[in-house]
């Protein structure tokens, strides 16, 4: 019983971490319908930049994450513009070809990381890494609490941004009806580009979390394609609070399976849940489409 409780608590924290790394995809794929399979590669790239800043300048990984956030915003604007000009504007099968585009981008990023940083695992140092908080018999690593806090902050900020600001309203509008938004006098491509910039910008902090939670290697993105897409689809495309809930469900499921059945089963959980959700409730838990 204690073991199960342990697994659930760790699972919730792990889930919050998954929420933080998925929430950008919840905007880019969930709201904008961009088949952004390079999202995890962007995430790993962010983690390596955090590593670089941490190692060379001794800056705290979270602060490093904040430093690269504006860079990633601009990177996102450029990436969307390239995707739009070369694929999206060219017609109806853009989705399928878009997947090819983003797979290509993901591989290029992987190779660039290997060329620059090598294939060895990398990690960062900070006061909260490697220490735990003891409650009774339970030990909760501080790094997971950091993930929890950042995930909450990102979810709250994005939810507020989408509901309270005029750009946020436009992003929700473009997700539903691009042509109707155009008739409101807004350029949907500009709105989508901006939203993609935001989706990429949040990867700054998410990348910091990735390397805070565990050491990274250049091909780590592959393990996160299944997890991030599982979370976003299970949430119901484009729901921010749904992303948090879905990520926690995935985290708890992975953690329980890990505890009860062993580590080799855990990676299969995301895909199993993804297939389950698509079969039973394709609109997700908090789906935007009725």
């Amino acid at each position: 019983m204690d073991l199960l409780l342990d697994a659930v608590v760790i699972g919730v924290l792990l889930g919050c971490f998954y929420a933080a790394v998925s929430i950008g995809l919840s905007v880019s794929f969930g709201l904008l319908d961009v088949p952004h399979v390079a999202h995890p590669a962007f995430l790993v790239l962010a983690a390596y930049l955090v590593f670089f800043i941490n190692e060379h300048y001794g800056i705290d990984p979270l602060v490093a994450g904040l430093i690269i956030t504006p860079l990633f915003f601009v990177f996102g604007l450029a990436a969307y513009r390239l995707y739009y000009e070369t694929f999206e504007r060219r017609g109806s099968d853009a989705g399928v070809r878009g997947i090819a585009f983003f797979f290509g981008v993901a591989f290029i990023i992987e190779v660039l990381i290997i060329l620059q940083f090598g294939v060895d695992q990398r990690s960062v140092t900070a006061a909260y890494i490697g220490k735990s908080w003891r409650i009774g018999d339970m030990r909760i690593p501080y790094r997971m609490l950091v993930a929890f806090g950042v995930a909450m902050a990102l979810t709250l900020l994005l939810t507020l941004y989408l509901s309270k600001t005029y750009m946020g309203r436009a992003i929700r509008a473009v997700a539903q009806d691009q042509e109707a938004l155009r008739l409101m006098g807004a350029n949907p491509i500009r709105v989508k580009q901006w939203a993609f910039g935001i989706a990429t910008a949040v990867l700054g902090l998410a990348g910091a979390l990735l390397i805070i939670v565990a050491p990274i290697d250049p091909t780590l993105d592959r393990a996160y394609i299944g997890r991030t897409f599982c979370v976003v689809v299970m949430a119901g495309l484009g729901s921010m609070s749904g992303t948090l809930v879905a990520a926690v469900i995935l985290g708890v499921a992975e953690s329980i399976v890990l505890t009860m059945f062993g580590a080799s089963w855990a990676p299969a959980i995301a895909f199993a849940m993804l297939l389950g959700v698509l079969a039973v409730r394709p609109q997700g838990l908090f789906g935007r489409r009725s």
């Binding site: 005029y166 309203r169 155009r182 008739l183 006098g185 949907p188």
Partner: protein, 246 residues
């Protein structure tokens, strides 16, 4: 009317042709619409009415042909730029942003179509006054999914109004409504027309078009077959043939 005709047209369509592959949806259509006119557009299904307004609003590129709005050639402009110039349209089937309230739906239009910088408070005031005019004030905070059909039609018009249009294109805003609801929407359009907004109304409900319009144009197979006062157009033999299919 005669006065209005003497002025510079608000909208001038010159030799507009639109082809889809081998099918000619619009064939050399030219028409001037003076400011303040209530213009009815009729024609059987597939006659090119919606194609014509898609060319005016910019959803379709035209080749060849020119669309002039307030003496400016808007043919190369994208739809959102045309909206900012003052051309608004409502959809035949309402397309609300479903995850938003009625107020938010209007705010999107007010956020982007505002011609000069206005404060959020001012935008909210404008939104409420449009909703009041449309009889939707009590629904401001309701989700767009909770509206009835007639309320949805009104919200489409309200959203179009929020872009500060000089020309409003109403695409079958009354289709499928009961006769009392048709009257309601017709009264709304009349009151908008009295605020110096030029209105192009596409409608299948002939009675409504006849009551509303200063001038009516009938399209058939992409060509103008009649244009004139409602009674002239109704009396036109080609119009009768087009509608009766003889």
């Amino acid at each position: 009317m005669t006065n209005a005709e003497a002025r510079v047209p608000l909208l001038r369509i010159v030799s507009l042709t639109k082809r889809f592959g081998g099918f000619t949806a619009l064939d050399n259509v030219s028409v001037d619409i003076p400011p303040g006119e209530r213009f009815g557009l009729i024609g059987p299904n597939g006659s090119g009415k919606t194609t014509l307004i898609n060319c005016i609003s910019g959803a379709f590129r035209t080749e060849p042909g020119t669309v002039l709005f307030r003496d400016e050639d808007i043919t190369p402009l994208q739809p959102h730029v045309r909206t900012r110039r003052g051309i608004a349209r409502s959809f035949q089937i309402p397309r609300p942003f479903r995850s938003m309230t009625v107020a938010e739906n209007l705010m999107v239009a007010l956020d982007f179509a505002a011609h000069e910088h206005v404060s959020v408070a001012q935008r909210r005031d404008t939104m409420m006054s449009i909703l009041t005019q449309m009889g939707l004030a009590s629904k401001a905070n309701a989700s767009a999914t909770k509206l009835s059909q007639v309320e949805l039609r009104k919200m489409e018009l309200a959203r179009a109004m929020a872009t500060h249009p000089k020309l409003l294109i109403s695409d079958e805003a009354m289709a499928g409504l009961s006769s009392s609801e048709v009257d309601e929407v017709l009264d709304l359009l009349m009151s908008l027309a009295s605020q110096d907004i030029t209105i192009i109304m596409i409608e299948h409900i002939m009675q409504a078009v006849m009551r509303f319009s200063d001038r009516v144009m009938c399209l058939d197979a992409g060509k103008i077959i009649a244009i004139g006062t409602p009674s002239e157009v109704m009396a036109n033999q080609r119009v009768q043939e087009a509608y009766l299919g003889t």
